[in-house]
């Protein structure tokens, strides 16, 4: 009986948020069109959406911007305690930023560079003063990724261009939750912190038919992030009994090394765009994400924590996809109106939904405006993300209830052509 000693109390929770936790909003013009931009790809944000697209750009071009993401999530439950207990996640705003450069080296050769954050976000539930009912699952989780992505695009023929690039990926992760030391009835807090770098590649292809119909394809490889040099900290309240304090400090190291691995999923996208008139154009995209790479979260500690050297929690994400539709209408030489819709299919199977990623199918409506004056361009976008309510029954954590969520996203990108 004592062999299993010291409890299975430490099962870490996962990373973050969004069809899985991807952020596809990496340029305000594309965002305003539901992210349907693979076939069009005719501004510097093409480095992200489809690098082959930069071969359309002349001279030097630069664009920089950000998307303010304001998610709102709530959980009602757990049904085993109070099926009406309502907890709203802490409100935070995130600003994943993007920066793109392109330079036409030769008429057939264009070089580009992108800096963007295609995976990330954060969730936070409860506070230290008012811990929430899911405190043993997750209290705060944050993941940031930064891609540094040089690309080269070449025009093979007048109609066909191809591109390739590499990405240096930098990632930071922080996971916090409470732990319960059963024999002494004590709640402690655990904090895992790690950062690392990884490498990925991206490929793009763009083909134009009859001058009005554009086809695009893009591939972004998976990126393996080995968090080999992470740090885990455990803090417990001090009690009046020095024996208990000693037990706690010998079982839960105040600080120890922690290791984990995360594979960011590969992405594959196809797009078709059509210029109906000189002022009106449409695009339809299909984007597939290989979320199956996130099958489990394993953390290995240098010193045993609660008697355990590693913890494994199953994640079992499945591949997901989104359907994106966007249109653009040019009002005059300065103003352009844009709108779009996208549907995001969930990556987390029902039994594995937990508070770090309260995810489900999402309907997104986008709208935006572009303004152009001489060499300058300013694009704004607004996106409302409406997530279907998700009623979880028989979750692996026995934490059943209803997750609801929405997010407001505001994009602003400024561009300049030399």
């Amino acid at each position: 009986m004592f062999k299993k000693l010291f409890l299975l109390l430490f099962l870490p929770a996962s990373f973050v948020l969004a069809s899985g936790f991807s952020i596809y909003e990496q340029g305000s013009r594309a965002t305003a069109m539901g992210g349907a931009f693979i076939a069009r790809a005719d501004d510097p944000s093409a480095v992200f959406y489809n690098p082959a697209g930069i071969s359309q750009l002349s001279g030097w071009q630069i664009s920089v911007g950000t998307t303010a993401i304001q998610p709102k999530f709530s959980f009602t439950g757990p049904s085993t305690m109070d099926s009406k207990l309502y907890t709203e996640a802490q409100k935070n705003v995130f600003f994943p930023t993007h920066l793109y450069l392109s330079y036409s080296v030769k008429p057939w050769l264009t070089a580009g560079f992108g800096f963007y954050s295609p995976f990330g976000l954060a969730t936070e539930w409860g506070t230290k003063e008012h811990p929430w009912v899911g405190r043993l699952l997750a209290t705060r989780t944050e993941l940031q990724t930064f891609y540094y992505n040089p690309v080269i695009a070449a025009k093979v023929t007048d109609n066909l261009s191809v591109a390739a690039g590499v990405s240096l990926v930098q990632a930071n992760v922080e996971m916090e939750k409470d732990v319960f030391f059963t024999p002494r009835n004590l709640f402690g807090h655990s904090k895992l912190k790690a950062n690392t770098t990884g490498l990925g590649v991206n490929l793009g292809l763009r083909y134009t038919l009859f001058k009005r119909l554009h086809l695009g394809a893009v591939y972004r490889s998976s990126v393996t992030l080995n968090f080999d040099d992470g740090e885990a900290r455990f803090t417990f309240p001090i009690t009046t009994d020095p024996i208990i304090n000693n037990e706690v400090s010998s079982l839960f190291p105040a600080k120890t090394k922690a290791k984990s691995k995360l594979v960011l999923p590969a992405t594959f996208g196809l797009g078709i765009a059509y210029e109906a008139t000189t002022n009106l154009s449409f695009e339809f995209d299909y984007v597939y994400m290989g979320w199956h790479t996130y099958d489990r979260l394993k953390v290995t500690f240098a010193d045993p924590v609660g008697g355990e050297k590693e913890t494994v929690s199953p994640r079992n994400y499945s591949d997901s996809f989104s359907l994106r539709f966007g249109l653009e209408y040019r009002l005059d030489q300065h103003f352009t109106l844009r709108a779009g819709y996208l549907w995001d299919y969930h990556a987390v199977p029902s039994a594995y939904v937990e508070p770090t990623l309260p995810e489900n199918d999402r309907h997104n409506y986008t709208i935006g405006l572009g303004y152009r004056l001489k060499s300058w361009s300013v694009d704004v976008a607004y996106q409302i993300l409406l997530q279907d309510d998700r009623n979880i029954k028989q979750s692996v954590n026995d934490f059943d209830g209803k997750y609801t969520g929405l997010a407001n996203l505001y994009g602003l990108t400024v561009g300049y052509a030399f």
């Binding site: 004592f2 085993t80 002494r184 009690t239 405006l369 609801t404």
Partner: protein, 455 residues
């Protein structure tokens, strides 16, 4: 120019949409009781034996009585004037004959044996001598207010009683079980004109709206457990007698007009009391099984394969019982029979639990009395139970469910048990009392238990 105006208008609309999108917040953010539901719980009474009384770690004490599942249910149902026979620290229980109260965990791993591979916990009983104000014979209660409470207690469950004692026992001497706590909890004789009243009669005097009754476990436990005072194991209540007594009891409870909820009997053989001490010699240095020259484990003398060694055997083994003569600290005696449950006895226990539970089911079905399936719930604990990131198992000390006596649930266990009862109460009587928030409940336990001084 027109177009610019149009665009600006567009932008304004856009901003309106942006600010308007917010999450729909429900008006009701946690379950609220209706007046009928409060009425239903207003006169709650509990009858039965050990667990329902709030007995844990070998004693009945206020600290844990206040966290018992009956107390939790009363709180969830907003019962006012809820009173229990709160016993002052260190409480009354199975060690009281020798002058001790509740069990405490001193060390999770004994510091005097630093080489142990498997932790070696140290448990001790709190002596009455440490609490000179505690008067176990005349005034064991926390206050005169509790002792002189003018109404019957809402919790009239008495640790260590048998099924028929609820209807028949008025004092320890006039009971079959001879439980010492009968006199404490029933306070007989009551002031005139009441005189001697049984637990049931006191419950009836209270005109209860809801009766919770959990009885029968001790009828079997008294047979299976080691008894320090009476060396002869009393034969357990025969199944025919149990069924007869139980049916009488249910008829009586029904006759009060109150809503009645009962529970069946858990499989006591799953409890750590019967599963913690191995039947083999343990190396005192590593606290793992000692091996002979051929690498085999060495059985304790007096123990045959398939026997369950009871928790109190630990003390005997320390004194040299059960160790083969080749061990230097052996006293040459086999492990006493009283701390061993052989296969035959285990079968008697298992069969009785099945028989009692079959009787409870059929008696209650006939009388339309809902039964909380504690047998199955305790089995779930044995197979490891998860809720909201919390893991609870039947492991001794570390499992979180069983207290230090290896039989009775902890405060955490009571919170989980409360929710099982509430589920049955809610579905049987068409009320919706919110279940206990187990996470908040254990958060409050940590303050009562470990005296946190700094967060």
């Amino acid at each position: 120019m027109k177009k610019i105006i149009r665009s600006s208008a567009f932008l304004i609309i856009l901003l309106i949409i942006a600010t308007a999108c917010s999450l729909y917040e429900p008006k009701i953010k946690s379950t609220i009781l209706s007046p009928t539901e409060k009425m239903f719980f207003s006169r709650i009474v509990a009858l039965g034996d050990n667990i329902i009384a709030g007995y844990q770690s070998a004693a009945l004490t206020e600290k844990h009585q206040r966290k018992s599942f009956v107390a939790l249910l009363a709180k969830q149902g907003d019962a006012t004037d809820f009173q229990q026979p709160y016993i002052a620290y260190p409480g009354l229980g199975s060690e009281s004959y020798a002058g001790y109260g509740i069990l405490k965990l001193k060390y999770l791993d004994n510091p005097e044996t630093p080489q142990t591979v498997v932790p070696d916990p140290v448990i001790y009983a709190v002596p009455f001598a440490d609490y000179p104000d505690f008067d176990p014979l005349n005034m064991p209660f926390i206050s005169e207010e509790v002792m002189l409470w003018a109404l019957p207690y809402n919790n009239l469950a008495i640790p260590g009683i048998y099924v028929d004692d609820i209807l028949k026992a008025t004092t320890k001497l006039r009971s079959r079980s001879k439980s010492g706590l009968i006199d404490v909890i029933l306070r007989n004789p009551l002031p005139d004109p009441y005189g001697y009243k049984t637990a049931f009669q006191q419950a009836k005097l209270y005109q209860p709206s809801l009766i919770l009754c959990w009885i029968g476990m001790y009828d079997i436990l008294s047979y299976a457990q080691y008894n320090a005072i009476y060396n002869v194991s009393e034969p357990p209540t025969p199944k025919e007698d149990f069924a007869k007594y139980y049916a009488e009891l249910m008829d009586s409870l029904k006759s009060t007009g109150a809503a009645v909820v009962v529970a069946n009997i858990p499989d006591i053989l799953d409890m750590p009391y019967f599963n913690t001490v191995p039947g083999v010699v343990i190396d005192t240095v590593t606290n793992t099984p000692a091996l002979d020259d051929n690498g085999n484990q060495i059985p304790l003398t007096g123990v045959t394969e398939g026997d369950l060694v009871l928790l109190p055997a630990k003390g005997f083994i320390k004194r040299g019982y059960g160790l083969p003569a080749s061990f230097p600290n052996s006293n040459g005696e086999p492990l006493p029979d009283d701390v061993i449950l052989d296969k035959n006895e285990q079968e008697i226990v298992s069969n009785l639990i099945d028989d009692y539970n079959a009787a409870i089911d059929s008696i209650c079905l006939l009388r339309k009395i809902p039964v909380v399936d504690m047998y199955s719930f305790f089995k779930e604990i044995t197979n490891t139970f998860h809720t909201a990131g919390l893991t609870v198992s039947a492991n001794f000390i570390t499992g979180g469910f069983y207290s230090l006596d290896g039989i009775h649930p902890t405060d955490l266990g009571h919170a989980l048990i409360a929710n099982e009862w509430l589920r049955v109460i809610n579905s049987s009587f068409r009320v919706s009392i919110p279940p206990v928030n187990v996470i908040d409940a254990i958060d409050s336990i940590q303050y009562s238990d470990s005296l946190i001084v700094r967060k």
